[in-house]
Symmetry: C2
Subunit: 200 residues, 2 copies
Amino acid sequence: MDAAEQEFARNGYDGASIRSIASEAEVPVALVNHHGGGKEALFWRVVARRAEDLSTARQEALSTQDAKGNSSVPELLRCFIAPLLERADHGGAQWLAYARLVAYVSADPRWEDLAAVCFDPTAQVFVDRIAAHYPTHARAAVASGFIYSIAAMLALLTSQWRMTALGDGRIETSHRLDELVAFCASGIDGCAAQKADLGH
Amino acid sequence: MDAAEQEFARNGYDGASIRSIASEAEVPVALVNHHGGGKEALFWRVVARRAEDLSTARQEALSTQDAKGNSSVPELLRCFIAPLLERADHGGAQWLAYARLVAYVSADPRWEDLAAVCFDPTAQVFVDRIAAHYPTHARAAVASGFIYSIAAMLALLTSQWRMTALGDGRIETSHRLDELVAFCASGIDGCAAQKADLGH
DNA sequence: TTTTAAATTGAACACTCGTTAAAAATAAAG
DNA sequence: CTTTATTTTTAACGAGTGTTCAATTTAAAA
């Protein structure tokens, strides 16, 4: 599974080969097929493996945040974003590979169903919580803003190099989270405000 | 080229096959190799083909906007975002495919160089213009926010379906642009503000 | 220990891939 | 018209793909 995770994250679904995975895991080729149930089933399994851990981490962060009193939108966003980013940073090579895999799955419409099963239920919870801070008729705008936020989070995982290229100074990883949360919170706010202006 | 554009956009680089492209274009297999100079060179050519048109459209939008007087950050962002989104919406199937291809290239670190050549120069111009609205020491924050914004724009191209799934109502395509610009402008603003708060 | 089940292995199959080389057809130049 | 380029076609090569199947080894159950 670890080998498949690395290979899928590095080369994508089509670029990865069962033989490379088997070679990296130092097992015969037929074993990974017998154990994984075919390439596509193996891919699903790899993505789903850490999805549950990620979801519970997000919900737990939400619970501990709620215990401190009323949760603001930035605090809610942080509960969703921090678990993945922290694991990508300090969770070892496997979690970094998995984070890239999440970005890959989320970007490719081909894995619509997989993403819907693994990530959408938790996302739904956070959209509900964030939307509660805005007028009820702005829910669609909040949902859009939340998806934009997810895209921004994944961009931080895949194209961090581009930020240092376009900017003129490297930013410490610990500050990236605060920066991203600030971006998303303000963005959702702007989204909802724009929706409110439609009637004028 | 049109056939390659469709095929690459639909299946990615590894998923696309020269034979499918040749079949869709109703030409022999060897012709596309002779004319395109190999698969990778063909991919570069396809991506670069409309990149220049896109860049000039963005810069022209910037010029006409500047002619109206001082350009605000939302107006600047609209000049960058609108050209691609308009072409994806009303530019026919080819431009829609190309838009998806841009999203694909931007997401995959494998095409770092290609993206740097085709898209980064124009992006640099817009980062400079936007950064002029903020204190000079906030340029890195603005660059980060701009990349987040690009990610959001590409998410609108690839996962529009998810917005209607997480929200509870469809939003008209014409409103999407305003919504996205509002999100990005507010987000960049929040990014720069967070950077300013670091000293406290 | 014997018997049944499961896991592991090596080898091969059928297929698609990108690329190449020589032959045929078309266009351009003299 | 003849002759040179250029483009197009046909065919095939070699490598790599996911998958399958019987043979073997290991583990578990009776």
